[in-house]
Amino acid sequence: MTVASHPENHHREHDYPEHYLSSNWTLRGWLLTVDHKRIAWLYTVSITGFFFLGGIAALLIRLELITAPGDLLSAKVYNEMFSLHGIVMVWFFLIPSIPATLGNFLMPMMVGAKDMAFPKLNLLSWYIYTVGGIFTLAAVLAGGVDTGWTFYTPYSSLFSNTSVIAAATGVFVVGFSSILTGLNFMVTTHTMRAPGLTWKRLPLFVWANYATGLIMVLATPVLSVTLLLMGLERGLGIGIFDPALGGDPLLFQHLFWFYSHPAVYIMILPAMGVVSEIIACFSRNPVFGYKGMVLSIAAIALFGFVVWGHHMFVSGQSLYSGILFSFFTFLVAVPSAVKTLNWTATMFRGRIWFSAPMIYALSFLGLFTIGGLTGVFLASLALDVHLHDTYFVTAHFHYIMVGGAVTAYLGGLHFWWPKMTGRMYSELWSKVAALALFIGFNLTFYPQFLLGYSGMPRRYHAYPEAFEFLHVLSSLGAGVLAIGYLLPLAYLAWSLWKGPRAPANPWDAYGLEWRANSPPIEHNFTETPRVTGGPYAYD
């Protein structure tokens, strides 16, 4: 820290000021760290591994579907592949992605704190995540599981001959990691804010992660209970879900979606936070309608809890439940639309800079809008009946969860990469990658909307030949998309060794994190920052 205060050291090429990465670079120094920034890296490395594992499963699925008869993989292997893809991507990548990596790194810095409120709990969260991940991975690789990520009963509890309990145990365990992270975010936001940082001055990324923490803490226990009941049902036949024993097969779906619908907001709210920061910075404008943005985050988090039944419009739940859940689903679309309006309006009369993070953020805007609008199709009851469990649904939730959450995650990673690593990356390659992602994504998933309306059901390993052409387009797109995901892996890794040194604030952005060094020192700030104004004081 004292080194940093000697100005002459800044100008010497190979003399780094001391920072959180340079000291104590040992295995022990990493595995027992309580520094939120190092824990963010532990998560980043782990979820990247899971992302590419889930991605390989996705590519196998797309390869299989190039031809109609189902001739590459057996039905069993195909079912295990889409289950692996779903389980890994949802629970071990999408849910922790932005909160556990960018959130972990930035939340304390953005509120001007030295660390999380509970640094040791933060490390424990990562260990729990790792244990759950290894458990599920072992189950999935050793025996496989073929229930899909939704584990619907009575298939999962009575009929599947695969390692259901083992796979679900890992998901059960990883839930605790999610709960602890959420708790840490909430307490950090409440108690660790720097002097002058009132709630009305919080960056939207902090607001978004705060709301996400709330959902994690409130919803995840329901998933834990649901999986526990499913395991007991399978192991002991307790009869909660088995109609032969007086149980209710739909109860599982109610309980499951009570968590898993809010889980979509666990993925998308932090993404919205990232995009708000990026668009403000690269438009050089304050976010349009800050208050409206905060209210929308709150409304999405709250309404997100009362729409789970829209996954069950054709299930046999009562007609009036269907009507009620459709109504709330339309309502939850309003705050999302308001946010889209506000992001666009933020660009109005700005000074727009098409850097890679901005291209990612604008891609998010386009993909999220298509995902959101097709959500309106599915909220319309009669249309949902036709589209339910078809490729239309597959395309819709990929637009939200991959087009939205993953694109924003990559945008955020590019935006804060100089802060996290102290290095810049190739501007050219990062733009190429962002464009490849946008093109590849649309080519992969847009044909799936058409497949869905023409009737193609999801989770089919073989299908009528008429659907082949659109599947071929989709698989081609997946190839382009894979390039969009592999390129950043290459040039970001390159930047770690060869990238030019990053200044403290390469984008000339507002926010307390940019006041720290790049990379920051161990406790972030040499002295506690004081906040005197709003979060987006551009121009």
Binding site: P154, F159, F288, G316, L383, P464
Partner: protein, 332 residues
Amino acid sequence: MSEQSIVDPDIGLQLIPTEASDYATQVDHLYFGLLGLSALLVAILVGLIVVFGFRYRRSRKGPRKPRFSDRVGHRIEIGFAAGLTLLFLGLFYWGGHLYMHLYDDQQSDITVNIVGKQWMWKVQHPDGTREINTLHVPVGESVKLRLTSQDVIHSFSIPALRLKRDAVPGLYTTAHFVATKTGEYRLFCAEYCGNEHSKMRGRIVVLSQADYQEWLTRHGEGPSPAVAGRQLFQSHGCTGCHQDSAQTPAPALDGLYGRTVPLDNGSTIVADEAYIRDSILQPQKHVVAGFQPIMPSFSGQLSESEIFELIAYIKSLQPGEWNQDRASGAPQ
């Protein structure tokens, strides 16, 4: 299942599937409406991003005029949110109205029982005709589907009718339609149901009414569900308690369907299909007032199709029918 069990009609790729019912046309109208609205909104959004991105790009020098005042900003936001809410309420009503119509329990000309099973659809027509993975229906008549499953959850999906309904074990779900166009259409299982899920496919054949009658006479060999149910009722010994003597230990079942039944816990229940089903499989669940809970469960002894038949038999019994039978000495 072997490959041969798949009986896909060869109808090519249809981005808008054939509209084989008026309902399908109405759903498509909603689809086109939403498609138009979405295209408009996406065009506005992309247009704004492109225009802003060009006009306000960083390299373009010169000052930017001031942005909206907070007051104007709030008005834009509130106006946008209010307008959108109204629009969504309209769409909510449109989609909900059609949905109620599809799943509403209403009278139908023909009721077809469908049992999902790993991995086939077993269909039984009112006259007892059975078929697998194929559903023959007449054009222009209202058809009610009564669905259940004997193992996992399946979903009966006919894109040409824009119709889909889950078949859930232990539950009866219904849907109805009037096909308006003869032809062959695809039938899928839409809910993942295990290894051969993707082979649980078939076809629906909409015939003219004359052809349908002819098809029934050609294939209709089995007894109707009610007649088959009566045989089951006798062969499983149900008559011994429910029907035989004046001092029966069990309630009489003639005229039961649709009646309100008093239970021994003081409550009442309407005798619908679910109640009859529960009484067969879980007889202790609803004990009728004044009777002992002594009936054994028939769970595991009857297939879903047999339960359908028993219910059909009990539904067919008119009030007082058994007394008349006894008085006239008719054989049971």
